[in-house]
């Protein structure tokens, strides 16, 4: 059942039960009045009154919960308005009787009962709604015990409401016991007035007014009930019910206590407001961190909150966050200089010249100032990572304006601001780090895209490649292109260094390779021209090692020039041995003029079908195991020899396994590349 439905149902229930109550009451009166000996029991009106009260209670419970319970003024306003409406209506009833006083028609039991029923309805509405509001106020910031106590209190009311059924009269034992129980409960509960503290000065006055008026309404209702009671013809007199008396008593006592407490709290409310503002300022300062705000915003908040916390007339703040920043309030730059010249206290001197020692514990940070306008000065250092980076100065026109309490609150603000500033520094650092990582990942993507996605697998060659980049971006490069029908250009290279520059240099190498391959140059000239091209753009300490192969599948020869790269290995299928394609050579970019050319040598070796060429980068041979030993050329050669007769993909796999077995639990932290090229014999 939704709350809305509950509200509507309880309203409808209330109305029906009230009508039932009024009807049965009048009926009873008639029966009594004309001494008709019919059913004399007042069971029906009693029951309908009970149900009417319960419905009203449920109705207001849902209505008032829905309101923002933290807004006390609104709550009290509700009581005031309900009270006003019900009181005005009851005044109308009273007016009617005053106006037609003495006329027997008006004073007939029927008329009296008719209005009495309306009045009871109004009173129940006001009393019950006020009861719910008081409940909200009492249970504000409730403890478990308080809640428990309140439940018992409500239960007692419920029990009494039902027991009232039986029509006990004042003087009965039950009557006194019930009242005593309710009074005791009330006395314990009425001292829960935490909400009063949360009202500001203006709200407190408003609260007092509203509650006072509610008290007057209650008094008025009591009087009017008493008047009706005085007629002595009522079938059911509400004033003879413990429930009504207890309810009125509770509402009254809480109203009186609330008024008194609020009244006594009036002088201190400004202090509470001040503390609340300090807390809010404090929160603002700390919130500059997650909001990623700038230093300037932190300075603004610091100076504002510090000034309002100590009622300073003027202030300025100087801080070094890369450059000297000055924030002033109610001061010109000239005035700041004048004030600085008037400072004769050593501690404050130290603070504003940023030479204050952190260990030093100054007893007085606020001292008199010999200045025409400002008589008291307070200065506090601002620290970031144990360095005094700045200070804040607060001024007051009154002598001895600052006290110890104020110094400590400003110190808290300054500390919080320092934390914010430190965090801003950390955030900036982590952002820079994040950006660097992003660049790396871009570079990695670039590097990957530079490697060929497809390699040859045709009647002349089968190529298998494996290239793994380390965490950082590496600079391993290989590529193979068809020069013409029978010739292929093949390059493997390794750019010194890592990171984005390595990826960039790889890109340059790819450009050079692709343009030079088309020129059908001999490997020697190819390397010389590559050196020439790369010398223009490589960093001073950067170099590239490479080997260029020209594979002639018609003549079945390998021509190559080595530019400082690890020598390739050639497996002979016939002899079942591995030879080293070692030749003199020099890394690209080591010599950046024509003297380089004389170090380039070209050789040509024949091959036969089934021979396998193995090329690699130093990531493989320099891979170290747990004892610091390198995998080395010999192990590579051995593994290649053992597996050379297998298809290229299995050779690749076997070498990878051998390397993995050697490494044990370690992983290679360099990039490494392995190229397996199976050379086939084919005759056209």
């Amino acid at each position: 059942m939704s709350d809305k439905l509950k509200i509507r149902l309880s309203f409808l229930g209330g109305l029906i039960f009230w009508l039932l109550f009024a009807g049965s009451n009048v009926y009873l009166m008639l029966v009594k009045g004309y001494e008709m000996k019919v059913d004399y029991s007042d069971f029906l009106p009693q029951l309908s009154f009970t149900l009417f009260t319960l419905s009203t209670f449920i109705h207001y419970r849902y209505i008032i919960t829905k309101a923002d319970t933290l807004n006390f003024s609104d709550l009290l306003w509700k009581v005031f308005i309900t009270g006003l409406v019900t009181t005005l209506l009851s005044l109308g009833i009273q007016g009617f009787f005053v106006l037609f006083e003495g006329r027997s028609a008006v004073e007939s039991p029927l008329i009296i009962h008719f209005f009495y029923n309306i009045l009871v309805g109004l009173i129940v509405i006001f009393a019950v709604s006020t009861f719910v509001v008081w409940k909200r106020l009492i249970l504000y910031q409730k403890s478990k015990n308080l809640l428990q106590l309140w439940r018992f209190f409500e239960l007692a009311f419920g029990v009494i409401l039902i027991v009232d059924f039986f029509g006990f009269k004042p003087g009965d034992a039950y009557f006194s016991v019930g009242l005593v129980v309710l009074v005791l409960f009330s006395l314990v509960l009425v001292f829960n007035l935490k909400w009063v503290a949360y009202l500001n000065f203006k709200q407190k006055w408003k609260g007092i007014l509203f509650i006072l008026l509610s008290g007057i309404y209650l008094y008025h209702f009591l009087r009017i009930l008493n008047w009706f009671s005085g007629t002595n013809i009522l079938v059911i007199d509400m004033l003879e019910r413990v429930f009504i008396l207890g309810l009125f008593g509770f509402l009254f006592v809480y109203a009186i206590i609330s008024i008194l407490v609020t009244l006594f709290n009036l002088p201190t409310s400004s202090v509470f407001e001040q503390k609340l503002k300090e807390a809010v300022d404090f929160q603002k300062l700390s919130q500059t961190i997650p909001r990623g705000e700038t230093n300037e915003q932190t300075y603004e908040i610091l100076i504002e909150s510090a000034m309002s916390a100590v009622f300073a007339d003027a202030a300025w703040l100087e801080i070094n966050d890369g450059e000297m920043q000055t924030v002033t309030r109610n001061l010109s730059a000239a005035e700041v200089d004048t004030i600085k010249s008037k400072i004769d206290n050593q501690v404050i001197q130290d603070i504003i010249t940023l030479t204050f020692q952190k260990g030093a514990n100054p007893t007085r940070l606020n001292v008199p100032l010999k200045h025409t306008t400002y008589k008291t000065i307070m200065a506090l250092p601002i620290w970031v990572q144990d360095q005094q980076v700045g200070f804040i100065v607060l001024l007051n026109e009154v002598a001895e304006a600052f006290n110890r309490e104020m110094v400590s609150i400003v110190t808290t603000f300054v500390n919080q601001a320092s934390t914010s500033l430190e965090n801003l520094v950390l955030i900036k650092e982590s952002l820079a780090n994040e950006r660097y990582k992003e660049q790396l990942s871009i570079a990695k993507t670039v590097q990957k895209s530079l490697l060929p996605t497809e390699v040859f697998n045709n009647e002349a060659l089968t190529v298998e490649a494996l290239s793994v980049a380390a965490d950082e971006v590496g600079g391993d490069y290989y590529d193979i292109l068809a020069i013409d029908q029978d010739q292929y250009g093949l390059i493997i290279g390794d750019v010194s260094g890592k990171g984005t520059s390595a990826a960039f240099q790889m890109a340059q190498m790819k450009g050079v390779f692709h343009s030079l391959v088309r020129e059908k140059l001999s490997p020697k000239v190819f390397i010389q021209k590559t050196n020439q091209a790369l010398s223009q753009c490589l960093d001073k300490s950067a170099f590239i090692t490479a080997t260029y192969f020209e594979i002639d599948t018609q003549a079945q020869t390998l021509s190559f020039s080595r530019a400082g790269h690890c020598p390739g290995l050639l497996y002979s299928a016939k002899k079942k041995e591995v030879s080293l394609l070692e030749e003199e050579g020099m890394g690209l970019g080591i010599l950046r003029n024509s003297t380089y050319d004389k170090y380039v040598v070209e050789s040509t070796v024949p091959y036969s079908g089934g021979d396998v060429l193995l090329l690699y980068t130093d990531g493989i041979t320099e891979a170290k195991n747990e004892t610091g030993e390198q995998f080395g050329e010999e192990r590579l050669k051995q593994s290649f020899l053992e597996n050379g007769a297998q298809p290229p993909n299995l050779i690749k796999k076997a070498i990878k396994e051998a390397l993995k077995g050697f490494m044990g639990s370690l992983t290679i932290d360099d990039d490494y590349t392995l190229l397996v090229i199976q050379l086939k014999s084919h005759v056209k």
Partner: protein, 113 residues
């Protein structure tokens, strides 16, 4: 990790490189050469007897000073290179550009030739 020690032997600057020279520690080697160039040293020997490993970044340091050495007529002699390190120098072709000898005595002697 590497450790660089410099000492002066009768007007000759000896730079000893100990341990492993990788990308980060190559900066120390670079600084040692930079200081030598700034102080106007003409005779430098590099003691590599305790060098276990040199990465391409470390080799890059030697390469980056080649031009400056020849233009300022600075003589650089390396000695005591272990075989695996020597192989790295040779594969790259640096062995042909740098003067490499076996012992410290030979290195110091070579300036008198």
């Amino acid at each position: 990790m590497s450790n660089i020690k410099t000492e002066n032997i009768e007007g000759i600057l000896m730079i000893s490189v100990i341990g492993e020279v990788d990308a980060s520690s190559s900066i120390h080697l670079d600084n040692a050469f930079k200081e030598a160039m700034e102080s106007g040293q003409k005779k430098i020997v590099t003691n590599l007897t305790e060098l276990d490993y040199i990465s391409s970044a470390g080799l890059g340091v030697f390469i980056s000073y080649l031009d400056e050495f020849s233009s300022k007529e600075v003589q650089l002699v390396l000695f005591g290179i272990k075989a695996p390190v020597r192989q790295v120098f040779d594969i790259l072709g640096l062995g042909k550009l740098l003067k490499i000898v076996e012992t410290k005595e030979e290195a110091l002697q070579s300036f008198n030739e």
